[in-house]
């Protein structure tokens, strides 16, 4: 079976600027894939190439095995790219009906998707009168019109209030659970951490990491504030081994899980070391993201 998204050596150059460089990306069927990167990293250019809006300079794009421009390339794909764009003089409902006509899906999905994004009450109002959040929800509704097998969402929670963001996360989770493959580009790393199965991180047009969220974040560690610190370090090394102990910002960081916390505490306190803080430290995706996008390449399997 063809993966929903596969790119090989995908490159896009604008004159002397390389926006996307030799990108190999595979999104598996049924997963929610987070596509991360700082501004200008090449995320939107990549998504536009997937949809045939931008032609690659070199490399290949396949969406369900079809190249952009081939029949069926977009038949099962819904997309919201770089913010919603609709006709201001039409209502939200008429905009969706119009798109349904372009797509050849019939208008029967229009009330369904309006309901999914909680926009039924305002669907008769002109698009020009919508708030930013409502426009965004209409954009997501349009992406869902074709009941897609692949949903490409570029910053879908832009402009949404906290409740709207929670609703959107729940919707994406539901779609993922229902078998829809979701390719999600977002700056909100907490959001990605909560809903994505795997993430790919791009920096300066290159994929610098691709893995599950858990693998990217790595193992948890214990952080210990103790006095005297050098005595605590010696004891910890003796207990856990040199390679599991380091001093970070005036505290011990121990590469062990929470199940060792009691033993560590007993060892230090028993040796007369005062322990003022002992807590589990988990790296969040933001830490990983900043490491990956500010430094060199780090390929994660």
């Amino acid at each position: 079976m063809q993966p929903p998204v596969q790119t090989t050596g995908l490159t896009k150059r604008y004159g002397g600027l390389t926006a996307v460089r030799d990108l190999d990306l595979t999104v598996r069927a049924g997963e929610v894939y987070g596509f991360l990167g700082p501004n200008g990293a090449g995320k939107t250019t990549t998504l536009r190439m997937l949809l045939g809006l931008i032609r690659p300079t070199s490399g290949a794009v396949r969406v369900f095995g079809a190249r952009p421009g081939e029949p069926g390339h977009l038949g099962s794909v819904g997309a919201l790219i770089e913010g919603p764009a609709f006709y201001p003089y039409l209502s939200g409902r008429d905009n969706l009906r119009l798109l349904a006509r372009y797509a050849g899906t019939g208008a029967h999905r229009v009330p369904v998707v309006l309901d999914l994004v909680d926009l039924t009450d305002r669907a008769g109002d002109r698009y020009a009168t919508y708030s930013l959040g409502m426009k965004q929800r209409l954009g997501v509704a349009a992406a869902l019109l074709k009941d897609p097998r692949l949903l490409i969402l570029d910053e879908p929670t832009n402009g949404l209030d906290p409740a709207g963001m929670a609703d959107m996360r729940a919707l994406i989770r539901r779609l993922g659970a229902g078998g829809c493959t979701v390719l999600l580009s977002s700056h909100l790393l907490g959001e990605v951490q909560q809903i994505c199965d795997r993430v790919g991180v791009v920096s300066k047009g290159q994929l610098v990491a691709e893995s599950s969220v858990a693998e990217l974040r790595g193992a948890a560690a214990l952080r210990v504030m103790a006095e005297p610190l050098d005595r605590a370090e010696v004891l910890a090394r003796a207990l856990l081994g040199d390679d599991r102990v380091r001093v970070v910002d005036g505290a011990l960081e121990l590469a062990v899980g929470p199940q060792r916390a009691a033993a560590v505490n007993a060892e230090l306190v028993g040796a007369g070391v005062a322990v003022s803080e002992l807590r589990l430290r988990e790296r969040d995706l933001e830490d990983v993201f900043l490491e990956l996008t500010s430094g060199g390449l780090t390929h994660v399997a």
């Binding site: 536009r48 045939g52 609709f86 074709k146």
Partner: protein
């Protein structure tokens, strides 16, 4: 393509600017073709349209009167419609929304052009209908007999008007694609139609033979020649028999196809940013 055409028709019909342009075109045609000349005739005053004596305002002159504005001012309105129909997608950023629905770029483009061609036909039919109604009223008020052009003349006139209007609409579409927007294509299109064409015809052509010859290949003078061949009076801006009617129709048809092809090529090859 059929789906795209249907969708484009819906957009055109529901867009207020379309109706504004239609009303404006009919109003201008009515004022300058019938009402001002009739006011001049009724008041017994001469003026720039002094050629427009009462017989020129009667139903028998319907074809020429309905076509007279298309080489310049009505053509400019159709050009604006062409720019708005295609350039609006750039202005609102809706190309990406349309082109991710499934139809190819060329199918979407063809749907737009077909819708524009229909709009051009509606405009020309409306011009004829408004002219017919107005000239009948004038004939009634002046107790003149009502004689209509032959069906063949009407058909040729409608066809010629449709050809010219569609050509200007396609030029508008091409400008919108080439310049990826609305404001600049409208500005440049209007400068060409309302200023440059007139300057060439009135100032440059009488001075330089090669300009006079080159004019015979330009869209505006050919549109003017075609409507002149079908009875439009020479006192209307842009109307002059620079070339024969048959040649003018061929040249306009050629421009129409060239504008369509150039716009399609650009849209097909360029990235949608």
């Amino acid at each position: 393509m059929l789906r795209s055409w249907q969708a484009e028709m819906i957009k055109l019909v529901k867009r207020p600017a379309t109706w504004l342009l239609l009303v404006l075109a009919l109003l201008l045609a009515l004022l300058f073709t019938y009402l001002f000349p009739y006011a001049s005739y009724a008041g017994g005053t001469g003026g720039p349209n002094s050629d427009r004596t009462l017989p020129m305002l009667l139903p028998e002159q319907l074809v020429g009167n309905s076509l007279g504005g298309l080489p310049v001012f009505l053509g400019a309105i159709v050009l604006i419609l062409g720019v708005l129909t295609v350039g609006g997608e750039y202005g609102w950023g809706t190309w990406k929304t349309l082109l991710t629905q499934g139809p190819t770029r060329l199918a979407t483009y063809a749907g737009k052009l077909l819708a524009l061609a229909v709009a051009a036909l509606v405009l020309v039919l409306s011009l004829f209908a408004t002219g017919a109604a107005t000239s009948v009223v004038i004939a009634g008020v002046e107790s003149q007999p009502v004689a209509w052009p032959s069906v063949a003349d009407l058909a040729v006139g409608l066809g010629a008007g449709w050809l010219i209007a569609t050509m200007w609409a396609m030029l508008g579409a091409l400008l919108a694609i080439a310049l990826r927007g609305v404001a600049l294509p409208i500005g440049l299109g209007l400068v060409w139609m309302l200023a440059v064409q007139n300057l060439l015809a009135v100032i440059a052509a009488p001075l330089l033979d090669w300009v006079a010859e080159a004019q015979k290949g330009l869209p505006g003078p050919n549109a003017g020649s075609l409507v002149a061949a079908l009875g439009a009076t020479g006192d209307t801006p842009g109307v002059a028999a620079v070339v024969g009617g048959g040649q003018a129709a061929l040249v306009i048809g050629g421009y129409l196809l060239a504008f369509v092809a150039a716009g399609g090529l650009l849209l097909h090859r360029r990235d949608i940013l």
